[in-house]
Amino acid sequence: MDIENELRAIVGRKLNPGIEIENSAKLAEAGLDSLDVVEIAFDVEDKFRIQLPPLASQVGDVTFQDLMRLVEEQLAAKPAGAA
């Protein structure tokens, strides 16, 4: 699974057309409101079948790159064969 592209697709659905988020940009500074941020967190959890740590439930405060790292960490922590 290409984590970066999946995450860009999830975040991109909330951004204005044609806007892409840079790796170093915080979601809160990319024109997203607080509901967008919560919905992104839920979409990420549902897509990757992971649970984001509580700090990342405030994904607006993390950069896109941080979000990728969090997803990678959670995927790596999943037991083998887990759904």
Partner: protein, 356 residues
């Protein structure tokens, strides 16, 4: 120094399961906003709560007493704080008596010396202490203390006080009561944050006996950990239309970070692996998840807390006692840690061990 023990814990909840009705009510508040409704539904999926109880009857059938929802919560005319307190005065003694009856203290009743009550959802004077003493035939000589408006961690504060009483008067027998009627503070609101609180808070009561008798759980030590600069994350204030709750979305993350840094202080020289029993107040599923991550606990460690959350919701101060009740028969020497979180933001913690 005398060692104080929680000898018995009994619990009670009101008769009506209101969880589904409250969800329907919350959805109706979001009727005009499909996006927020969808978000609410997704949060509902994650809440891990199946039942919550109240004296407010959702369908108006009053075969078990209480009040009809349509009488108490009239659309466009929700009750004033005064009206909610009147309902508290009517309902709280019923719930308190139900919990105390389940203690089955019998003749021990006459040996009770102190009563300590924690409550943040209702007040009156003469108050619950005197009402309970009258209803339950408790000795008029009992020393009475109300611990008011401390929020979800108040049961731990109540236990601290009971322990001090027993340590200073080894023959003391303290009745502690933790009673909350959170369902009296529902709001008609479009605020998603407020509506989300309707997902978790509920009514319940725990009654306990604390004494020097070496039965039940021995209370070893207490520690309160204040997280700096978090005063605004949990607030509970008296408004004109009930009490107003604010629970920031930052609370779980804050708890996770602060516990990681304060685990040594809380465990007072013990290691995490020394603790076999975790009685964590289930403030919500995300709070339990935060504690589990912060302390690297096995998923099974917080099963008692998750069971209480699923079956009863967050009953504020009473809830941690529901969890401790499951641990009363712990075998001798089994070590445990109880913790509850609340305004401050503060983690109130207690180390205990079994005597069974």
């Amino acid at each position: 120094m005398t060692l104080a023990h929680i000898n018995k814990i009994a619990t009670a909840v009101p008769p009506y399961d209101v969880h589904k009705a409250f969800i329907a009510f919350a959805r109706s508040l979001l009727d005009s906003d499909p996006r927020r409704q969808t978000l609410f539904d997704r949060m509902l999926d994650r809440a891990d709560i199946e039942h919550r109880y109240s004296y407010i009857s959702p369908d108006g059938v009053l075969d078990k007493g209480g009040i009809a929802a349509t009488d108490f919560y009239r659309r466009g005319n929700f009750p004033s704080t005064g009206a909610r307190m009147k309902a508290f005065e009517a309902q709280a003694p019923l719930l308190a008596q139900a919990a105390i009856d389940r203690l089955e203290i019998g003749p021990e009743r006459d040996r009770l010396t102190h009563i300590v009550i924690t409550c943040c959802t209702g007040f009156s004077a003469p108050g619950l202490d005197l009402e309970i003493m009258s209803r339950c035939g408790l000795p008029g000589s009992m020393e009475r203390t109300m611990v008011g408006f401390m929020g979800c961690y108040a049961a731990i504060n109540g236990l601290k006080l009971a322990r001090h009483i027993v340590r200073s008067e080894p023959k003391a027998r303290v009745l502690t009561l933790n009673l909350e009627l959170c369902s009296l503070h529902l709001k008609e609101t479009a605020s998603l944050d407020e509506i989300l609180s309707f997902l978790i808070f509920a009514d319940g009561c725990a009654a306990s006996i604390v004494s020097a008798d070496p039965v039940g759980l021995a209370m070893d030590s207490f520690r309160a950990v204040l997280v700096p600069d978090t005063r605004e994350l949990i607030t509970w204030n008296i408004g004109d239309n009930g009490f107003d709750m604010f629970l920031s979305g930052k609370v779980p993350g804050t708890i996770q970070e602060s516990l990681r840094g304060s685990a040594d202080e809380i465990l007072d020289g013990a290691s995490l692996t020394d603790i076999e029993l975790w009685a964590v107040h289930p403030g919500g599923r995300s709070i339990l998840d935060a504690v589990e991550r912060a302390l690297s606990l096995k998923p099974s460690a917080l099963a008692p807390s998750r069971r209480v959350l699923r079956s009863f919701g967050n009953m504020s101060s009473a809830t941690v006692m529901f969890v401790l009740q499951q641990m009363l028969r712990a075998s001798a020497g089994t070590r445990g840690c109880a913790m509850s979180f609340g305004p401050g933001l503060i983690a109130e913690t207690m180390l205990f061990h079994g005597t069974g």
